[in-house]
Amino acid sequence: MASLKDLRGRINSVKSTRKITQAMKMVAAAKLRRAQAQAEAARPYAERMEKILASLGSAVAGMPDAPRMLVGTGADKVHLLVVVTADRGLAGPFNTQVGRLARARVRALEAEGKTVKILTVGRKGASFLKREFASRLVSEVSYANKKRVGFEDAEAVALTIAEMLDQGAFDVCSLLYNRFRNVISQIPTEQRLIPAPLPEGGVVAGPGPQALYEYEPTEEEILATLLPRNLAIQLYRAILESAAGEHGARMNAMDNATRNAGEMINKLTLNYNRTRQANITRELIEIISGAEAV
């Protein structure tokens, strides 16, 4: 049996662990609120953008020289996966979840004989995928040393993707990230970026109500600026959702850790008291039997 001193040491160390996890939970809760507000604030823009894109896209999609970002390159050989994760760990299954989804996608695509390229946003995803798919990794972005991720950051990533598209470096681009459903559940999601998915209603409606719009300048010109922005917006939204999800997941993980530490302390304290009592009893017996012997 462990000595009393050992037990005391363990109790103290678990206590300080509990303090740390509790503090981390508190911090995550505070950050979650901010991240959630930011994610919600970004939503209206993305929604309106989608609407405009739907009415424009269906007008232009049928044309032979439609922009690549809308209709893709026509081929389906090289896939680019943009994987958005957190920069920090200790958030439960948050990062592994996306990592696992990405791994499954890469394997599935390669089994079909397609080439896969990976672009990671966030350090954790990069280190996860590097282990297995280091040769497919084309670029990694991290916001670890940034306090707040702004729209410009998403724009920079979008620019990289646009550049790769221009060079014909890939045919299809999808985004993998944790969608924030609520504080306790984040859903790893895949979303196609290029070719841009048009809402079904827009395509079916065809030249119906959309034809009413006048465009200034022309549809093509608006689309040429709208599409890169849409790409950036989608990325921005994914990054924000993922940030909110990260804090939610961390809050949960730390809540569990705090509770487990509490349980552990109780068990150890019980053990400690039993050992202490056993020691006292033993000493008493020794004294009594010593006195009897005399």
């Binding site: 604030a41 309106r48 729209f151 620019l159 006048e214 465009y215 600026t225």
Partner: protein, 137 residues
């Protein structure tokens, strides 16, 4: 006077959503005043000032660096890149931004992709415009 719903959104937040009488929008081919019942349009914006009229008086002036606007009969949605109320636009601040933008443009090598150069150039132009507007205000 008839009103319509004006919505002004930037990627970071929803800035304005209320009934107004008239909005003046800096469209790419010239300023454009929009009243209720305007023909449906989708326009690209060049940098400039959005002016809002409510109850017969001009109530808001906002500087935008660029973006898009969707006009339909009862609603105008402006998707702006960057929005600053004119009152908050300081000359010193926008000049600093201009210097930054010019530095990025200079840093972008000619060997880089044209998109990168365009984006940097666009930033310089919009910063220049912000300086001009701040000066005039």
């Amino acid at each position: 006077m008839a009103t319509f719903l004006l919505e002004l959104v930037s990627p970071e937040k929803l800035l304005l959503s209320r009934q107004v009488e008239m909005a003046t929008i800096p469209a790419i081919e010239g300023e454009m005043g929009v009243l209720a019942g305007h023909a449906p349009m989708i326009v690209a914006l060049k940098g400039g000032v959005i002016r809002v009229r409510e109850n017969g008086a001009e109530t808001e002036k906002l500087f935008v660096a660029g973006g898009f606007a969707e006009v339909s009969g009862e609603r105008v949605t402006i998707l702006a890149d960057e929005v600053t109320p004119l009152a908050q636009l300081s000359r010193a601040g926008s000049e600093r931004k201009l210097v930054e933008a010019e530095a990025t443009l200079a840093a972008v090598a000619t060997t880089d992709a044209p998109e990168k150069r365009d984006a940097a150039l666009l930033r310089v132009l919009s910063a220049k415009l912000a300086v001009d507007v701040a000066e005039a205000a």
